[in-house]
């Protein structure tokens, strides 16, 4: 049995969860998609054992895994796939929705489905890897899916069954599914237990894995009882500009000035104690295979920021340290953040103050921040997530069918060239040419700074090999399915 730090992330179904990583990962323990993207980025089978696409790339035929069964013993068939598509068109799920590009899903026979999409897209299969299949015999009578949280709502085809969930305590209890279609789960039981102070809970053997900061790493180093795994992740904090609420942010050189004013290295050193990688304005992590190191970097330079601001006509006429526009109004922004990033906001406030921009911090709890971010109710906002790297946030193209999203568009930003290049790279089958397009795309994005990546977090995880040593080297998320089962 493995115990991990809990927390309420909603009921782990596509309709009941809270749309952030921990919620989706719990859902993925129970439910399956047709295919998955493995650690090297290749498409691998899940509920579909094989597939082929037509010449024109518009039709995909999936052969389903005959061994797959729902937790309640009913067989999994093509009917369920067709049903899920139709159901998710009618009721948009919170997470795990089907790709928007699907035009039609039809059953060929019990073990075969044919999916038609509207436009050829090299990413179609990887987009489908987040599409969760739900059982027809349970959901067909459900008309209010968001409030459907009875035990049978958590019937999936995946390696784990949910046996207990408490919203109040933030606890989940999963047990291995003996009839799982894939290889046998390596862990019989997974429990998410309340843990206020995770390090203390780990030391007292209440939980089995934690992430630590560099300051306390020495406690666990050179000790055979513990093992440390370190990861460079693409989970990033980003600064978002609401160009509709504050038109001055729509000016490119204004955003560039902000990028120059913020010392991202200092953010890494102070807020993450060095365990992070400074953000690249081109959005992609330096580790990304498409990363373009030639894109603009905006190395910290307060004078350059001031120069750009004065070129835009902002002057500090009364020398109180804050710039004014030509009407004499103080240049002041409200910065929305959650309480986890209040400290980060404070450093940004200090940096921008040096360039003459006043910032008023508005710190709320995470869920309020997410809701206000989604509604565009902010001027500047700090938001963090692990999936902002595909650049679709910066286009006007919708990427996935989701009812709610924690990562919205860059409000007010529109660049047709970015849209075109984004679509072009989606269609490009030749990896070399795709890379060229991605390089160009990053150059434009870095020049425009529609959002500013502050830093990518590194993760240092400690576990006891004597308890369990099967932790994945590819993902730092301790609740990720790949830690417990090979599909």
């Amino acid at each position: 049995m493995i115990r991990l730090a809990g927390g309420d992330w909603g009921y782990p179904t596509p309709y009941g969860l809270y749309p952030r990583g921990p919620g989706s990962r719990k859902m993925n323990l129970i439910f399956d998609s047709l295919v998955k993207t493995d650690s090297s980025g290749k498409i691998a089978p899940k509920l579909a054992s094989e597939w082929e696409s037509s010449e024109d790339g518009l039709t995909y035929t999936f052969k389903l895994n005959p061994k797959a069964k729902w937790h309640d013993g009913k067989p999994f068939t093509a009917e369920d796939v067709v049903f899920t598509y139709n159901y998710m068109k009618q009721y948009i799920p919170v997470s795990g929705g089907c790709p928007d590009s699907i035009k039609q899903v039809e059953k060929v026979d019990d073990q075969t489905v044919k999916i038609k999409i509207d436009e050829a897209n090299v990413d179609f299969l990887s987009n489908s890897s987040s599409w969760i299949i739900i059982p027809k015999h349970i959901w067909e009578s459900v008309t209010d899916p968001n409030n459907f949280t009875s035990a049978e709502a958590a019937v999936g085809t995946g390696p784990y069954k949910l046996v207990d969930y408490s919203k109040e305590h933030g606890t989940y209890h999963f047990v291995a599914n003996p009839d799982f279609w894939g290889s046998k789960p390596r862990v019989k039981e997974i429990k998410f237990v309340p843990a206020g102070e995770t390090i203390l809970a780990f030391e007292q053997n209440e939980i089995d894995r934690i992430s630590v900061t560099p300051d306390i790493l020495s406690r666990y180093e050179n000790n055979p009882e513990y093992k440390i795994l370190s990861y460079e992740t693409s989970w990033a904090y980003r600064l978002y500009f609401n160009m509709k609420a504050r038109p001055e942010l729509a000016e490119k050189s204004f955003r560039q000035a902000i990028a120059y004013a913020i010392d991202r290295q200092e953010l890494v050193d102070k807020i993450e104690r060095g365990a992070a990688v400074p953000g690249s304005p081109g959005v992609l992590h330096p580790n990304n295979e498409f990363y373009n190191s030639k894109a603009a970097q905006y190395t910290h330079n307060t004078n350059k920021a001031k120069e750009l601001m004065s070129n835009l006509g902002y002057k500090d006429a009364d020398a109180d340290g804050i710039l004014k526009n030509n009407k004499g109004e103080r240049l002041s922004f409200r910065l929305l953040c959650d309480d986890g990033s209040a400290r980060l906001a404070e450093v940004i406030k200090q940096h921008l103050a040096q360039a003459g921009i006043e910032v008023v911090i508005n710190s709320v709890d995470m869920k309020t921040r997410d809701a206000r971010f989604k509604d565009g109710d902010f001027e500047l906002c700090i938001n963090g997530s692990g999936n902002g790297e595909d650049l679709s946030e910066l286009t006007t193209i919708k990427s996935e069918g989701k009812a709610t999203s924690t990562t919205a568009q860059a409000i007010g930003y529109q660049n047709t060239e970015v849209d075109e290049l984004y679509i072009a790279q989606q269609k490009e089958k030749d990896p070399k040419k795709r890379k060229e397009i991605m390089f160009k795309l990053q150059q434009i994005v870095a020049d425009d700074v529609p959002k500013l990546t502050l830093y990518y977090k590194n993760s240092l995880n400690v576990h006891r090999p004597s308890v369990y040593d099967g932790w994945s080297l590819d993902t730092y998320h301790s609740d990720s399915r790949s830690n417990f089962v090979d599909d």
Binding site: T198, I199, I216, R343, E346, Q350, I361, D365
Partner: protein, 311 residues
Amino acid sequence: MAINAHLINISKKIGVLSDPKNLTAKAKGHCQKIAATIKSFTLLGKFGLTVVTFFVLLAVFAPLITVHPYDLPSGPPLMAPGEGHLLGTDDLGIDIWAQLCRGAKISIIVGLGTALLAGLGGGLIGIISGYVGGILDKIIMRLIDIMLVIPDFPVMILLAAFLGPSLTNIIIVLALFSWVSSARIARSQILMLKEKTYIKSAVLYGAGTWYLMRKHFLPEIFPLIAVQMIRLTGRAIISEAGLSFLGLGDPTSKSWGLTIHYATSFKGIYYTDFWKWWLFYPWLFLMLMVVSLAFISRDLERIADPRLRKK
């Protein structure tokens, strides 16, 4: 001298005295009374008074006695107490001593603000309720009953979250839940005083409401309200620290509670040395302040409340 001038001013406003000679004598009398009160304090009370005076001085002269700014980094992050930084620095490299001096100011503003608002406001409501009586008294008393049964801290958390974090909001929220006790004390005193023969005879001789208030009610009630206010100050400071600790305070104010909040939310702080200055000193300041206020209020209560004095 300043106190004398102040007292003269007050006396003038009240209009009790018109002769300046008499005036200084009266002021002297006041000073002597205060000195006597302090003398009658217990050792703990005197200790409390010293500590509170120290913090008030700290708050007032903060800009003069701190070298570093309280809101900007002035050294490397998480530096241990030592040269240049008396109490070390926090994770952003901000001087802890400067932050704590600023925190003293915030604590005193919140404490005094709440105490004045709740003590005087509550006292006034109590006086009105007791003096006017009738239906108004009934309404106010039921309102007080309702306020008494509402668990205050959870509602405070709710209100603070709803109104948004700012110092003014915190003072208002705290005052909203603290006026009740002052009001009840004031009302019960008024009810008792109203029935006293000297008040009745004063009324018979034609004393008006304001005359009674000034001459008889306020002097009787004020000491009790003052004790209540000191007690409220301590409670307000601890509540502000509590709200800030929960992340409901103004995120950039440097109150003691907020410093403690940031220190405790620093991952694994107890497994590093950082807590020895970043967490310990704000905790020490907060504890000293609140305990001192409690000592003072205990002594004042003993002096103001004749029932306790007999014991």
